[in-house]
């Protein structure tokens, strides 16, 4: 009763105003992104995961060679194989959604930090070490990229040497098992994206029956949000955490000292998704859509991506490692410039590109 009275009263008070102009929907609401999604999935995401799978298999092979003959040359070859596998992984971090998270593969592949206490205990034990025993029994802190990295490089205080590895057969066994598990995870990841029932097809079919997303534009927003997420992670996490704390133990790839390349490849992940291709700007891409709406904006995004990559690489242009740069006053400016360049890109994507897609 009281509600009814309120309704009547308010109708009397307010009445119906003349019709207001409706807010114009963003151009993305009516744009057909079918080809954009198709090309982004099958020209960028799936080939990146294919590289990851292939390189992980090569890493597993190189580690087996190292175990059979632990020489410095074989150790170096295994390290190079790790670095090569790291490239597609870091270039995939702009699309950390779908099977990589749904199947728990992100922690399995890239858990950080390494659980060194437990790892030492496992190595000192008599536990069976195979890829399947690692997969079945050990947590993500005991497997994946950084565990393998730690065993291949050792710490700064105690670098790994081939002669030491030769004297520690358990470490070699562990390396074989962990790189086998990494290869298996990479295969699972790629397999989940391909095929008729794969996530790739469902992602590209967003907005239609069988698609992952309710609307096509949600998938496009997903692509874009994946990019802003990795920009945020690199600028405000991966770089900021060790830099602010002046603590090298917070560096992600602290054993291989590969962090600068990791960060740059994260930004290349942004580049290949935005360009819808791994070989320059594709005709069916986020870039092409943005260019159609605002040519200057598209040019700004493209140049900000390149500027961010250059700014990251500039930190180590004189050969200084990120590890020491974080506490080198002379490097303060270049580190902060890199952060600023990434944040500028992130702001453009969030404030200028996203509103073209969703309101």
């Amino acid at each position: 009763m009281s509600t009814l009275r309120c309704l009547c009263l308010s109708l009397t008070l307010v009445g119906c105003a003349p019709e207001r102009p409706a807010t114009r929907p963003p151009p993305g609401a009516t744009y057909d992104f079918t080809a954009t999604l198709q090309h982004t999935v099958f020209d960028v995401i799936v080939p990146t995961y294919t590289d990851l799978e292939d390189n992980a298999a090569a890493l597993h092979g190189a580690v087996r060679v190292l175990a059979s003959a632990p020489t410095e040359a074989h150790l170096e070859a295994a390290r190079q194989a790790w670095l090569s596998t790291r490239v597609p992984w870091e270039q995939s971090e702009g699309f950390l959604y779908g099977p990589v998270s749904d199947l728990g593969l992100d922690p399995s592949l890239d858990s950080w930090p390494v659980d060194r206490i437990q790892l030492d205990q496992v190595l000192a034990s008599g536990l069976e070490l195979t890829s399947s025993s690692i997969a079945a029994n050990f947590g993500a802190g005991l497997r994946g990229f950084h565990t393998i990295e730690y065993l291949l490089w050792g710490s700064d205080e105690q670098p790994a040497r081939a002669a030491d590895l030769a004297a520690r057969p358990r470490v070699l066994e562990y390396l074989i098992a962990a790189s086998g598990a990494l290869e298996a995870d990479a295969s699972t990841l790629k397999a989940a994206w391909v095929g008729d029932d794969g996530y790739g097809k469902k992602f590209a079919a967003a907005g239609s029956p069988g698609g992952v997303f309710f609307r096509q534009v949600d998938a496009v927003q997903q692509l874009l949000t994946g990019l802003t997420e990795i920009c945020n992670e690199v600028a405000n996490g991966k770089i900021a955490d060790p830099y602010k704390a002046q603590d090298r133990s917070l560096e992600e790839s602290q054993f291989s000292h590969n962090s600068i390349r990791d960060f740059a490849d994260n930004l290349r992940s942004v580049k290949i998704i935005y360009e819808g291709s791994r070989a320059g700007v594709g005709p069916h891409s986020l870039s092409a859509f943005v260019r159609g709406q605002d040519e200057a904006l598209d040019a700004r995004v493209l140049s900000q991506i390149d500027a961010a990559i250059l700014a990251i690489e500039a930190i180590s242009s004189d050969g200084e490692l990120f590890t020491s740069a974080i506490s080198n006053p002379a490097k303060q400016q270049s580190i902060e410039s890199a952060q600023d360049a990434i944040r500028a890109l992130m702001t453009t994507l969030q404030r200028d590109v996203l509103p073209l897609i969703v309101s």
């Binding site: 019709e19 207001r20 728990g104 437990q118 309710f214």
Partner: protein, 460 residues
Amino acid sequence: MSGRRWWLLVSALVSACTGERGDDELVQQGGTFTVNDATAYSYMSPAPAIEDNPALLERHLNGDRLYGLERVASPARVPGTGGLGPLYVGRSCVSCHQRDGRTKPTLFTSGGSGFDFSTFLVFMKNINGEFFPDYGRVLHDHAIFGAQPEGRLKVEYTEACDEFPTEEHERYCLITPRYWITDWYTTPPPENELAISVRVPLRHVGLGLMMAVDQGELRALAATQYPEFGITPRLQWIQERGVWEIGVGGHKAQHSDLTVELGFSSNLGITNHRFPDNVARGQPQITVDEGLEISDAEMADVDFYLQSLGVPARRNAGDPVVRRGRELFQQAGCHLCHAPTLHTSRTPPRLIDGTPMPMLADQTIHMYSDLLLHDMGPALGDQFTQFQASGDEWRTAPLWGIGLQQVVNGHTYFLHDGRARNLLEAIMWHREEEGAVSYEIFRHLPKADRDALMAFVNSL
């Protein structure tokens, strides 16, 4: 009616005049906490008021970091990352709440306990309601190297199928779990004295708003009976801190806070000020006293993070099928328990460290739950009482964000132990709900109408 609500009503009427469909379709489910995101990140987005305030955002992001950090065994080489175990269920909050949602249950991927962590809790107590002396309040089915898990959960499902009594004779199947525990680390509790309840994680959508709900409204809802639907909701009264409070969190509304300290302690093995004792304390296999492993400030930051998460806006609310589904949802009486609209209290709620959260106060929200206990019958019951809740009683699950679970977590397992493999099965498990009137109405709907009702729920 408060001045603000009066204004909202006037605004809604203006909107109706201009043909806009905003409040009419209850699109802004989380009030000012609503976020326009239907992606895999939709549960993770901070509320706009947080995102626009650098200081609040920084606190939110610190809470986010602590929430997602995968813990390792102490003494950790990387400061602030240790404390895991020695017994645990997950290695971080994200183990169970991937992207603030519900990680795909290892019940289905591993047949019970997972290899790295488990995505469920097994509540354990004896028939007198007491914990077993050599075990925790939940089964710790993982352990760091050198310790033994308390046991491992196994599950088997039996499937039974039936047809809808409508023209299409559409077939549906439900699976019933059977749980048992293997690999006990010491003498197992006598089988006839052991009561367990398996629970999958809750989605962390809109937790701050949920905790801030006006408790007067809940009392009023609890006092309203619907004899024609056979529904007799009950308030959950709980005692966790020495005083009786209304419980709102958890599958049986058995908590009056977001269990941040309890979760870190019981699920990750990380001791804190409120739960300083290791979960394994007293067990013959644990001898080391590690002291407190996380600070009060960090606990409060995680609480802040959870309370400041946004709520995804509804999708396709204006779609004719969805609108039809909304009508059917009401006609079937689903809304009597899955209450569409609640309000948060005018008094700002506080974090566990006492920080007031004024942005959560005085909001109109649409979580589609009355947060009350309802008798769902013995088929769903677990014979596990918690405070006022009997084995057969469960808190009405909030539905906001439910349609995005597939996008966020890649699966559609629902209900307290994830036994419903999709939304249809979840609805059909309401078969023994008190009265079962809504269930019968749904069951007799033509397929197109059932689909419309589910399209509505998926739009939430």
